[in-house]
C-alpha cells in the first residue's frame, strides 16, 4: 500500500513531461516545409480596422504564390514591448519569424546589429526615389537599405470645426493662438478640455516634444551632427509644454499619462477642442455613429511665432530576418506588401498613409481618401528623430527627462542638462 503514492506520482510526472515535450515540438512541426509549400511567419503590431482587412491582402498573396503560406502574428501593444520582443529574439538568432515590421527608429539599430537581410537587390535606387525622403533615410544604413517603408505617419492637429465656427475663431497657426482660442472656448463651453496630446513616459512623448522644439527652431542634433540638447530654443519649448498644463491650464493633467488612444477616445466623445495625434484617428472620427462625425478638422501643427511648423516622422517598415530559413519567400512577401497596389488598398480600405509619392497622384485614391492626399506636404516635410543605431539607448534617457520636465519635477533646463550629460556618456562609450 505505501508503494502507491510514489507510483502514482511517477506516472503523473511522466505524463506531464510528455505533455511538455509535445508542447515544445508541435510548433516546430507546423513550420516544417512540405515539398510544395513553405510557411513564412509575419510579425507586426495590431492594425487598425481589424484583422480581416490584412487577412484578405495576405490571402491574395497566397493565391498568387501557391508555394507560400503566410502566418501573421500580432505583437504586444506598446512599441517598447515590441522592440523588446524583437531584440531578445533576434539577438538569440531566432528563425521563428521571417518578415518583421519595424518602427522608423529601429531599422538602423537592427541593421548595425546585423539582424536584417540587406534588401538592395529587391529595392533598387530608382524605385526609392518615389518614396518620401524621411523613411528612405530611416531604412538606409551605411549605403544599403535594410527595410522597405510600409506606411508613413506624422503628427497632426485635430480641431473641432463646429466649435471654432460657433465662436468664429480661425484655425490656430501658432501655439499662442491655440492657447488663447482654447481658453476662450473652454470658458463658454462646459466640461471640455482645451488641448490634449500624448504625455505618458513612452516613445510618443518624445515625438510630441520634438515637434515643439523644432517649431521653435530647436532640436537635439546640430547641423554639424553633434548631439546638443541644452539650448535656449529647447528650454523654451519644454517650458511651453509645462505651461500648457500648469499655467494656461488648457491641457488637463491627465495628458501626462495619455497615449494615442486615450486622447483619441476623449476627442472622439466630443470632450476636447484640440488634439495632437497621428493620421489614423481621422477615419475613426468619420465612421457612422461617431459623436464627432463631420465636426472634425485636421491641419498642420502650430508653430511658435516666426517659426515654421514641424511634424515628427513616424511609420512602419518591413524587413527580413537575417536568420529566416526562407529568405526568398520572405522577400517576395515584403515586395508584395510594399507594392503600389497593396499600399493603395491599405490606404483606401484601412486608412494607412502610403510612403510613395506617386500614390498621392492616383485618381482613385484621391477620390476615396481626399484627406490622406491633403497630407502630402506634411509627410514631405516630416522630420526624423535622431538617426543613430543608439537611438533606443538615447530615448531611454529622453523619455523620463521629458516626463520630469512636463510634470514639473525638474525645470526644463535641468532636464536638458541631464539629457546632454547622459547622452554624451552613451555616445562616448559606444563610439570608442
Amino acid at each position: 500500500m505505501p508503494r502507491k503514492p510514489r507510483k502514482r506520482l511517477l506516472k503523473l510526472a511522466s505524463l506531464l513531461f510528455l505533455l511538455a515535450v509535445a508542447l515544445t515540438s508541435c510548433q516546430t512541426e507546423k513550420r516544417e516545409a512540405t515539398e510544395e509549400t513553405v510557411t513564412i511567419v509575419f510579425k507586426h503590431g495590431k492594425l487598425a480596422g481589424g484583422p480581416e482587412a490584412l487577412r484578405a491582402i495576405l490571402a491574395r498573396f497566397e493565391a498568387e504564390n501557391p508555394d507560400i503560406k503566410v502566418k501573421d502574428e500580432v505583437l504586444p501593444a506598446s512599441t517598447d514591448e515590441q522592440h523588446q520582443f524583437y531584440v531578445i529574439n533576434l539577438e538569440a538568432g531566432s528563425p521563428e519569424f521571417d518578415v518583421l515590421s519595424m518602427d522608423v527608429i529601429w531599422v538602423e539599430e537592427f541593421a548595425r546589429a546585423g539582424w536584417l537581410r540587406p534588401l538592395d537587390g529587391i529595392f533598387p535606387p530608382e524605385e526609392r526615389e518615389d518614396f518620401f525622403a524621411g523613411p528612405i533615410s530611416a531604412v538606409t544604413y551605411q549605403g544599403s537599405v535594410y527595410a522597405i517603408p510600409w506606411y508613413i505617419d506624422a503628427g497632426l492637429l485635430y480641431y473641432r470645426k463646429d466649435l471654432l465656427e460657433k465662436y468664429s475663431m480661425p484655425v490656430p497657426r501658432t501655439w499662442q493662438e491655440l492657447v488663447s482660442t482654447a481658453k476662450l472656448i473652454m470658458e463658454k463651453e462646459k466640461d471640455i478640455y482645451g488641448f490634449i496630446w500624448q504625455g505618458k513616459q513612452y516613445e510618443g512623448l518624445v515625438c510630441n516634444v520634438m515637434e515643439y522644439m523644432w517649431s521653435r527652431g530647436g532640436g537635439l542634433i546640430d547641423e554639424d551632427g553633434r548631439f546638443n540638447a541644452l539650448k535656449k530654443e529647447n528650454i523654451e519649448a519644454l517650458q511651453f509644454i509645462y505651461d500648457l498644463i500648469h499655467t494656461y491650464r488648457v491641457s488637463p493633467p491627465l495628458v501626462t499619462t495619455a497615449m494615442e488612444e486615450t486622447t483619441r477616445h476623449i476627442f472622439g466623445s466630443g470632450r476636447a477642442i484640440f488634439m495632437r495625434n497621428w493620421p489614423y484617428a481621422w477615419k475613426i472620427f468619420e465612421r457612422e455613429g461617431s459623436a464627432v462625425k463631420g465636426k472634425v478638422g485636421v491641419t498642420v501643427l502650430p508653430a511658435f511665432e516666426g517659426y515654421s511648423s514641424a511634424a515628427t516622422l513616424g511609420g512602419w517598415q518591413l524587413g527580413v530576418n537575417r536568420y529566416s530559413p526562407h529568405p526568398e519567400a520572405a522577400e517576395r512577401l515584403v515586395r508584395y506588401l510594399t507594392s503600389y497596389e497593396v499600399q493603395k488598398e491599405m490606404s483606401i480600405k484601412m486608412g494607412y498613409r502610403p510612403p510613395r509619392r506617386s500614390l498621392y497622384e492616383d485618381e482613385e485614391l484621391r477620390r476615396a481618401q481626399p484627406f490622406i492626399v491633403e497630407l502630402y506636404p506634411v509627410f514631405e516635410r516630416a522630420r526624423p528623430r535622431p538617426e543613430t543605431p543608439y537611438y533606443m539607448m538615447i530615448t531611454q534617457v529622453l523619455q523620463p527627462e521629458f516626463s520630469a520636465a512636463i510634470t514639473g519635477l525638474k525645470s526644463p533646463e535641468e532636464a536638458l542638462r541631464s539629457i546632454q550629460r547622459q547622452v554624451e556618456y552613451i555616445l562616448k562609450l559606444e563610439e570608442r
Partner: protein, 274 residues
C-alpha cells in the same frame, strides 16, 4: 469597554477587512461583463446590458487556451519536480542528519533570498546557449529551483515532527533509507507535501519576470505574460483584460477556497515553528 461593544467592533473590523480584500476583484468581475461601449461611463456601476463577448473574444481573438495549457503544464510539472527533489533533500536533512546539514539549510535559506533580477541575465544567456529559449522546459527548470528553498524548508520541518522511532524501527527491519523515505515518510508527510505543493503551484502559476524574459511566442508564453502584454491598437481593451484576469484567477480561487487551511499551515510553518 463592554463585551457587546467589543464584539461589535470586532465584527466591524472583520467586515471592513473582507470588503477591502474582495472589492477590487468584484469590480474586475463586473467590468468583465460590460460591453466596451459602457466602459467609459460611470455610473451605472453595474452593466446595463451584461455580455459574454469579452470572454468569447479572449478565446477567439487570441490563443488563450494554449496559453492556459502552457501555464498548467509549467505549474504542475514544477510542483511535481520541486516536491520530488525537495522532499529527498528534506528527508536527508531531517532524518539522516548528515554532517553540515545545518550549513546546507542555511545555504538554502540564503538562496531563497536571491532576487530573481540578479540572476535573470546570466540565466537568459545560459538558456539561450542550451537552446531552451521559448520552451516550457526553461521555465520549469527555473521555477523548480526557485521554489526548492521553500519546499525544503517546509518539508524539513514536517519530517522533523515525525517520530524518529519510526525510522529506527524500519531500519532494524532492514529497510534501506530510500525505502524508508518513500514507503513510510512520504505517506506520513502527505498533508505537508500537499500544503507545499499548493504553495509551489501558486508561485509557478503567478511568476512573471522569468516568463517574460525566457518566452517569446505562444509556444511557451504563460498566463501572467499574456495579461501583461495584452495587445490593443494603442490602448488597453479593459473589458477583455478583466475577462482574462477572471479566467486565470479561477484556479487560484479554487485552490484558496478548498485548501485555505493547508495553505496557511504551509505559510506559517516556516515562520512560526522555528
Amino acid at each position: 469597554m463592554s463585551r457587546t461593544l467589543k464584539k461589535a467592533l470586532n465584527w466591524l473590523v472583520l467586515c471592513v477587512v473582507v470588503l477591502w480584500s474582495v472589492a477590487p476583484f468584484v469590480w474586475q468581475i463586473i467590468t468583465s461583463f460590460k460591453p466596451s461601449a459602457e466602459l467609459a461611463t460611470l455610473p451605472p456601476l453595474l452593466p446595463a446590458s451584461p455580455t459574454l463577448d469579452n470572454y468569447i473574444s479572449v478565446f477567439s481573438d487570441r490563443p488563450f487556451g494554449r496559453i492556459i495549457l502552457n501555464s498548467l503544464v509549467v505549474a504542475s510539472l514544477t510542483t511535481v519536480l520541486s516536491i520530488l527533489v525537495g522532499s529527498l533533500a528534506a528527508f536527508g536533512l531531517a532524518v539522516l542528519k548528515p554532517r553540515g546539514g545545518y550549513l546546507f539549510l542555511g545555504f538554502v535559506l540564503t538562496v531563497s533570498m536571491f532576487p530573481p533580477i540578479s540572476t535573470v541575465s546570466p540565466l537568459y544567456i545560459i538558456i539561450r546557449e542550451l537552446g531552451l529559449r521559448d520552451t516550457v522546459l526553461a521555465l520549469i527548470i527555473t521555477y523548480t529551483t526557485f521554489s526548492l528553498p521553500l519546499t525544503i524548508w517546509i518539508l524539513t520541518n514536517f519530517f522533523r515532527s515525525i517520530p524518529r522511532e519510526l525510522y529506527l524501527s524500519a531500519r532494524v527491519d532492514g529497510c534501506t533509507s530510500f525505502q524508508i523515505f518513500y514507503r513510510i515518510f512520504l505517506p506520513v508527510a502527505a498533508p505537508g507535501l500537499f500544503a507545499t505543493a499548493i504553495l509551489v503551484f501558486i508561485f509557478a502559476w503567478n511568476e512573471f519576470l522569468f516568463a517574460l524574459t525566457f518566452t517569446s511566442t505562444v509556444r511557451a508564453r504563460t498566463v501572467p505574460v499574456e495579461i501583461a502584454l495584452f495587445p490593443g491598437v494603442h490602448e488597453m481593451p479593459w473589458a477583455e483584460i478583466a475577462a482574462a484576469s477572471v479566467i486565470v484567477t479561477v484556479p487560484v480561487v479554487l485552490l484558496v477556497f478548498l485548501f485555505q487551511r493547508r495553505i496557511i499551515e504551509g505559510l506559517t510553518a516556516g515562520a512560526v515553528k522555528r
